[in-house]
Symmetry: D2
């Protein structure tokens, strides 16, 4: 038997006494059954955060979502409610590197995600055939120095046509403009390498190798106008030694990028991530 569809609400707002009781009582009064409820308080910011998942009693999920939103607003909270019956559609942006591309699509096939990738957009033709093998339409949108705006307009048109509800940059090697992100107005998840210390400029694995770092890392974050500086979702590191060549670092980096990005996408689709300011609360 399929598990019953659930609703997941992510809400936050100024802290006040009684919030846990009020949300739980609201659901209980409507004979919903709470499966998970996780709260967090940012003591310094005086902000309350909650993820609450429940099985609604018989009735229209759509109506319950609208009513919960109104209820949350009455508490001064911002809420986002999703039904597990709805599987968000996503678009995958790639360039030439295929490791995150295959990793995400294979995990999708394995049922690891509560959403579906429905198209691939790339500035290079390399992964066209592979995308088709996964049964996905592949859109080639070249980006050249002078016509980035035109390319982004094209990307935006495609995303709207397919009704993309989220975007994953799976080693897409172009910076998305602030205008694009603003016009899209959908969450965009990105992955990039991270080092201690940080390295500016190109060829960071070469720089890390030259510096003799003992750890290399990767961070997944939501893309914002400032590309590498959006709210961090997940980070991980791998240990390296002088025995590792630059190529070894790049290979280990690929593994980190795959696992960190997949984890971020999974959490996003399970509605586990609340963004506020420039940080995230991940209810894992």
């Amino acid at each position: 038997m399929e598990p019953a569809a659930t609703l997941v609400a992510l809400l936050h707002g100024p802290d006040q006494p009684g919030l846990v009781a009020k949300t739980a009582s609201w659901i209980f009064a409507r004979r919903g059954n709470i499966l998970h409820a996780d709260q967090h308080r940012d003591m310094e910011a005086g902000e309350f955060f909650q993820r609450i998942e429940w099985v609604p009693s018989a009735g229209s999920a759509g109506a319950e979502i609208a009513e919960f939103n109104a209820f949350a607003a009455s508490l001064g909270m911002v809420a986002r409610v999703a039904s597990s019956a709805h599987r968000p559609k996503g678009a995958l942006f790639v360039s030439r590197a295929d490791h995150c591309f295959h990793d995400l699509l294979l995990r999708g096939v394995a049922g690891e995600f509560a959403g579906d990738f429905t198209c691939v957009i790339s500035n290079h033709p390399d992964l066209a055939e592979a995308a088709r093998h996964y049964g996905l339409p592949f859109h080639l949108v070249p980006v050249t120095a002078g016509d980035k705006a035109a390319a982004e307009a094209n990307q935006l048109r495609i995303l709207r046509e397919v009704g993309a509800e989220f975007v994953v940059l799976a080693r897409y090697m172009q910076v998305l403009s602030a205008e694009f992100l603003h016009a899209l107005d959908r969450p965009v998840i990105n992955i990039h390498h991270s080092f201690l210390p940080a390295f500016a400029g190109g060829r960071p694995y070469h720089q890390a190798h030259a510096r003799g770092v003992k750890l290399i890392g990767a961070s997944a974050h939501y893309a914002t106008a400032d590309l590498d500086e959006g709210p961090i979702i997940q980070q991980d590191v791998a240990r390296v030694t002088h025995r590792h060549s630059v190529e070894d670092l790049i290979r280990k980096g690929r593994d980190l990028e795959k696992s960190v990005l997949a984890q971020a996408v999974r959490w996003h689709l399970e509605n586990r991530i609340l963004i506020y300011g420039n940080k995230t609360v991940v209810f894992d």
Copy 2:
């Protein structure tokens, strides 16, 4: 300003609709302010678990604890409520090895624990001087083959005199009898090494080295009649290679034992651990 004293309830019992709402509403109705509330459902066992921490309104914490317990019982739940104003007294059992001993006592001095060690009990005199340096009474209770029962009676008497509310076995090299644990009726936290695969018999680090394992581990658990098989609280591992000697494994094992045991003690004293059956739910 000191933060206000809080109450922490750990409760569990058969799952039923409305539990989150009921406990939160009970606290809200008494004008308490919930700081943290974390729930868990064991779907297979149909069991509900909750840790809830709140600042009670003015009034007697003692009365509120008694009333909450009665309330939880009315819901068919078993509850344990503690006040942050109360710092539990603990006894440290040691033998000759001193790494966990120093680690725990230094962490205590650094303020990492929400409780206090108030005496040291050992079957060897080695750590007497060191215990006194930490300002702790040291009780030498030798255990010889024939008189274990007498030794345990002696230990029990000491623990009752100091009013020990928990015991930590910091590499105490004697097995405590089921009778002792039953008579004591207080939580006893133990630490031991863990390996993949497991090794029976003596000198486990030597066995692990001979087997060429690539990881060594340590597990902290509550002691039960079957010493190494009580509910697991925390586990960790360290990577080893053929370059590591048996002595290196033992040294790395000490570091694991220190950090894993300290984490378990910290969680225990913050009332984050619910035991049921032979497992734990750790609300970290």
Copy 3:
């Protein structure tokens, strides 16, 4: 420019003074250039282990291999020498689970291995189409209760026809008989889950979940007559909590199995693993 072909020797035998000097001088006298030389001594066993990689001077690599083997024998050592110009052919055994299958083949395509998978053998038809997509012949060899010997004879015939030099069991769910392993006489790398404590019997992830373990693990090892007990190559763990369902444990287990098995295969193909007794020395 392609890097020059190198020779890698793995040798071991009774320790004696001068071994490092003798092997290095042998190579130097023939105007070879040592790139890496790594030694290990098992002090207890009195055994010497070495991995040495060098660029031979112009001349026949085949002749140099034969001469090095004779030289090692004259020192009382057992040697195995491989040329980087030779890429070993491997066979992949699978059943229904496809995570290690895809992971290994995609890493092969990405150039992470110093060898090539050249066929897939399975007791189930599920992965036939996927194997063909990677351009690999797929051999269905069903194994039923009564005819295991016939199936193994069939597998052996296929392996000999393709000239398989190593076998990887990528979640192949059948036990290979001691007779098969003896007749094959080629290294067989296997992957299996590992837990602290260990669990006997079926459905280990369910048992681990019921036991409340805080870590789950995976181990790659060479298959021997006693399937899960051969020399360990690599191990890794992932952290789990009560929040993780059995399905989460299985998913995390898949990730561990992929990365641990891939690491073991990479090391094997780079001639980094020396087996002696029931353990390995991994020159990483």
Copy 4:
């Protein structure tokens, strides 16, 4: 029986054919017995690195060291040779924080280091009593804004009097001047926190918390004129979530600082670290 004293040479210089053979043969010709020999080539820099440990035949270790140095120089190499019979004397610099202080001294007592701390220097009186408990002289050298040069002259005098061969900055909260480091001319090991991304300015744990990082880290390095940017010896990270307060981050940071610094000191004293340029080769 005590193991025989060994010699450890760390050498590096321009790569050339035959170096492994030449060093090994030099030792063998003098009837030394090589216990460990580990080489590394930095292909890009064309540099050769070696750590070689041997039991010299009967005779003067002092003479053998001088002769080896001359031999290495004849190969165009820089060598540093140490005898395991010599335990270097170290000085511990501290301020108020005591976690690394206790950790290092307890590890010393436990025999984890191949050297000895022989004095404590601090700009605060807080740890005077604790130092005496470990049997170590405690030197209070206050550092005020205007008289740093005088304080450093004082520190230098103390270090020369005790014959300090290495210095460990165990959370010493003053920057050592380039002049001091130059005049001292002994290795100085420092520990500091590391974050992804990096945070400039004060109160880094507060900044990391505000940024919502998922990992915090610590790095041990040799101090150079540019304090936090010397050659990295070891790095490690710990995972954090939104549930962790700034105090939790600081506590976890202490644990990282302890273990990373101790590992760096251990490697240094075992002559496992070769510095060249601004990086290290760690023969672990």
